[in-house]
Symmetry: D3
């Protein structure tokens, strides 16, 4: 090796220059505060919840009626403790807690209360997820059996995480829902904001590139294909040019609508009526009446035969 150790003498000086930027550029570091929610912990929560929601399909083998209550009871207890801690951290951070950390107990108690409300919703959530699995089986001719959906379908993975994150979002828990949904986004390419509301029997096929915005309302039995955007048309700004946050900016999709690949539907006032079909690559910024099929007009293509 020809590493020259003397050249490393400049590293302490470089370190000092870096550390100086932590004072001058304080917005992108987080020093001296109480800890933020821990990413690895939040992801492990998703894994454990998947074990509970789909027992026998994930890591743990050999579950049967005689042992599953032990397994689930043990996981629920650990989830309680882990979520209590992470939600407490998220609440404290949002509240702009000071360095002294002297009030932590209050946030942790609040975290526990919200954790219990969240866990209480899980049995009901399984009913909803069963409809999503059924919808995937009914909607994909390449699907051989329901187990395949639970095993392999990224759409179901993204929807499951969305439904968990949405429960937390409804409980006004900051940061964590978004951390969860971005984890699912990273794995599936499907970006569903935890704030969206989505009915039963939801099916996303292939899914890469799907974006579903924060204020979307989606009914039941809706099917969505890869690359579909349910987005905002434009953003209102207030008199000082700042974004107005909190408005309905994304469309409403009624029951039994099918939206084919790469279609784009924009705008908070756009309503796609029930039983409508939106064709592949269609771009829509206005409402569509129920039972309407919208397709690209015979495409304007330029054909050029090779000489």
């Amino acid at each position: 090796m020809a590493t020259d150790f003397r050249l490393k003498d400049q590293l302490p000086q470089l370190t000092k220059r870096l550390v100086d930027t932590y004072a001058s550029l304080g917005t992108i570091n987080h020093l001296g505060h109480c800890p933020l929610p821990n990413y690895e912990e939040v992801i492990s929560v998703i894994h454990d919840l998947n074990e509970i929601l789909y027992p026998g399909f994930r890591s743990r083998e050999g579950l049967h009626r005689g042992n599953v209550e032990f397994y689930v009871g043990d996981l629920v207890d650990r989830l309680h403790d882990c979520l209590t801690r992470q939600i407490g951290r998220a609440l404290r951070h949002e509240a702009g807690a000071t360095d002294s950390c002297t009030e932590e107990e209050d946030y942790e108690a609040l975290g526990q209360a919200k954790t219990l409300l969240f866990l209480d919703r899980l049995p009901e959530l399984r009913s909803t997820l069963a409809t999503d699995v059924q919808a995937a089986y009914d909607g994909d001719p390449a699907c051989k059996c329901r187990d395949e959906v639970i095993f392999c379908y990224p759409g179901l993975e993204a929807i499951t995480v969305y439904r968990l994150a949405h429960l937390l979002y409804e409980l006004d828990i900051p940061f964590i829902p978004r951390m969860m949904s971005e984890w699912a986004h990273s794995r599936t390419g499907i970006d569903i904001h935890p704030g969206a509301t989505i009915g039963n029997y939801f099916f996303i096929d292939h899914g890469t590139g799907v974006v579903i915005g924060e204020t979307c309302h989606i009914g039941e039995h809706v099917k969505v294909y890869q690359g579909v955007t349910l987005g905002a048309l434009s953003f209102d700004t207030d008199g000082e040019g700042n974004l107005v946050r909190g408005q309905k900016r994304h469309p409403t999709i009624e029951d039994r609508v099918v939206i084919y690949a790469n279609a784009t539907i924009l705008g908070g006032e756009t309503v796609i009526g029930h039983d409508a079909v939106i064709g592949s690559s269609v771009w829509i910024t206005r409402s569509v009446a129920p039972r309407t099929t919208v397709l690209l007009e015979k495409p304007q293509l330029r054909m050029r035969a090779e000489v």
Copy 2:
């Protein structure tokens, strides 16, 4: 910590409610059955196959002619054992095996037979993959050398997994091909169904959002860019409204076709003739003659200069 232990007293009751849903919602749990194929094992198989297919490029360093046979021979032996077990599980599960597991040995013997057929195809597969690497080098002006393709190109990663999964698919092995292709999908955003048939010298650039359906036929020397969908136009249903499964639903792409980014080609009877070029964002549901270039017509844009 202000966690109130008494509040945890409700967790056993919650556990019971969750477990009750395992009886009432039995479609989304898998209890008391013989084990399903193990996801981690299947993924480790992909990693080991990559070590064999591209020796010296993946984890193991220091391979040379004198030791590579030992390394590969040891991996092949382990792959045999692991695949035999996982394929046996998949076959048993598909057969609707009962709880008693008394017939396991038959499925494992069948698993071994299929494993040997699969492994036997690997030397030949390397020839095919060499053409894919060459195609990437020939097709991307940003590519400096072939090694870079093997090292960094998500397209090659997705195609490699597809070709492995396709071999398993041809052997009528359930679940595992799809588990493999969804793993590649998650890492690359490229979703190639293991049932598709694809010729040599296949190149996918960038790749995010590419979807290639189960019944596609793709010739040799085909190039595909990000966001391309080779999909189904609509799904036939039988008299009772159920999907008809097994038909050719996806297009045929002949030799030397280039399909630019975000183009959409739909329908089982659509044939893109050899040497055709399909432009970016084009949407096609009909066949295209050989040697034809299809581009978007001068786009209908609304230009609005700012006041």
Copy 3:
């Protein structure tokens, strides 16, 4: 188990056939050479750089002004050693080094020199990243606070890795920039070539499917949404049909341009003038004047009400 051990007798023969292909298909194996850059090491470098760039937000908890210099100083030292080694390997491999490895020290010394130049740029890079965080907060009405951007936004993750990879690219380091950018691509679906040049205050929302080509020039305060392609129109070939490498093939985007979802902008001579707005799904191959808004014309849709 019904595994038949005698059937395994064919595995050594299979191994031999595989190893034979390493001679006959030598382009896709790497035997007997000095080691290539190690993928896991390169990824760990990204993780460590993230710890330095956004201290307190990633793995390490409990950082404060009193200990952060120790933490960062220790990381910088380890980064120096690791990068020196990996860059040395990359340089040696690019130089077509022979089996004997006798010249390794020269490449490692060169690797150290480039490493020091790279590390020297990090303090300045933090200023740039602070503008990117600000741009995300300013640009997304769903964003509650800056911390959320650093924590959850895949756009920022991709941009951060791009900016690191770009520094290495500017230092003429082979392989490693691309390995980094493909890692980010895999996690975010955002594919930014390390060769692109991108100004401050860059924001990518959602991001899946974004492709930014090697020779793009992007100004300051630019916003890009999911599925946007900034690509090449066609590739020039020389007299012998080989690709001409190294030309400007991708567009120029001036300051304060907004490009909405799934828009496609192609061509090395295409310039999108400052303050222009490119609408969702628009397809452009020509330059656009400053301050122009380009939208899809009232789309040509076929509406069909159900009978």
Copy 4:
């Protein structure tokens, strides 16, 4: 690096020579047989049993009455499966099973039966262990509280593993008891053969070098210090010079005996009567009456003052 790759050419030849010894020296390799009990699995069984026997003291934190049944129930289920498999392997191996492995199911069924008998004894075992903990607290003036015994005392660790191994030994399970006791030996320096029988309230202090032979009988309330050997005097051989296996070769220690450090007691017919005290470093090969104290006579020392 100056590694000479050509010198590595002799390694394949060396490998061949090594492999040749597997045929010529077949007693010390185990090829082509069904698998032996797995060491890591057996050790993990000890860890899990410790979690059950001393809940709240080992790895898992936060156990309370509300969750402990879930935790223990889940562990018991996993222990059942793991022990069934490992005991089945041990039984099969002892039976000299052939290569074909066709009878494995019989051994696994037998393994399960023995596993259930073993698990059934655990509640009762806790009563015995509670007496051992009490004995350590009563016997060591340096001990501050009972928790310290469970936490830190190697004597209790060795006794716990002995009591578990002894249960398995009584069930005629081969290999596994000895694997367990050697693990404890390695950690504590205390070597208790699983065949020994030992009463309640057993205490070993410090313990390094203690050896307790296979046919020892030890009563209740016995205390033993470091370096004590309860061993065999000599081994009988049969007419052909082979060892006679299975005789009582080790001493009997009656209730309330104390044996101080480094004492040696040998012989299968040696009985140390109840309430006897055996002094440090004493060497005994004959029986000692009850209530007798045996000390080294005023030691024969040679004192030599320095000139």
Copy 5:
């Protein structure tokens, strides 16, 4: 597999019986309390302290004057946090803290205060350890260089852990010193109670079986070989038969004493005068004058020539 799933039906009943013993045998479980010090954390503290005390000899390679302050500063900070937490737990547990855990902060503050006192002693401790290393080099003719002592000598490992545990013992920290010393005991067979006081230049050779009791006083330049016991002669009991705790029960060893293998020295009033030599296997319960050599008298052996 022939596992009979119906036989597993008895496991829940077994679990219940086990859990019932947690109420009836409450002394050997720890349920519903605040957590005990964590064993893995305590051991990791020892590892980190070794990195600081002998930098460059343990895990971290590549330390030099330019980076060692960063490395050590970062470790010290983490040690502070980890020890504060674990010492807080130990203090709370010793105080018989109730289930409610409402007072944790007090114990953690106390833990921090003690942690800072402990860390403050580390620079001075290095001076002492340097004398121990020197003593080993001077005392073992098989030792080639000082580095070998730090690298390989179990005696130094045990002494180092003892000296750390003794610092904590002096600060009245419960549990943790003993956890540390038992860890060293397990690895080296050397059992030094943290309460003993031991002077500089202490050397233990081989060491297996060495026991040094809680109230030993050992001077400077003392050498001890394997199997040496410095123990108690007998234990006083009070009127009710309970052990009297806290008395001086173990011997005093003055400066420059050498104690050869397997010697036993007992009693709190026994003083081995300075410069004495205690021969191998000698058993002593009375004081020995300075500068005296004590050897076994010509041993009483029975020689029997074979016929």
Copy 6:
């Protein structure tokens, strides 16, 4: 938590004080030098060698004649590389290499040469180890079969590591033999110096506390029990009081000698003649004629019956 962050302000000052001792106490740190042999690497070498010496008994399951050559060949190759590197480091360090590391290649070449000599001895070593296994089976009436010896006997574990370390010692490799033998010492309590010479059919039973010195000569068919010391009588010093290193200081044990538990045999000129038997706890500093049995004379015990 009540951690007071302000109190942590003293940690940087403490760090500085610690780092200052690295200059003032330079003998116990290793800064700015080329790296020492890596402990974890050396231990992994032992594990790999065990896999080769006893194939089928250690971690890897499923070995049979068809795959064992691949497995062993791959391990041998990796062992070559790893040992070459570690031996090179050890040689460089012993040579007092300077900071500049410029001569590393020479040491690495020397390391490779010694590695090849070492590996070349492994086939022959297996013959020797087979005699040791046989000796254990023949010598222990509690032993049921040879497999149990390989699986569970700490004596065999220690002897195996000794024989490996001795091969390295004979090749004049510094540090590494001792690191290996201390690892075995830690696990088994058996301390055999790598310099001792030991014949075939060596058996150590129980073993804790056994010490075998550097210059011992041990013949064939020797049996040794726990606590046996084969040590030095006293150390010669030269005129300046320094130890004379390198003399024969430890006894010679001829063929077929049995040495029972806790016996002590001292002195470089002490010879225990062939076929002698040394009884338990005997202490010997003179030679013993062949075929002699040496026992403790009827021990001088003080019996005291309780009143």
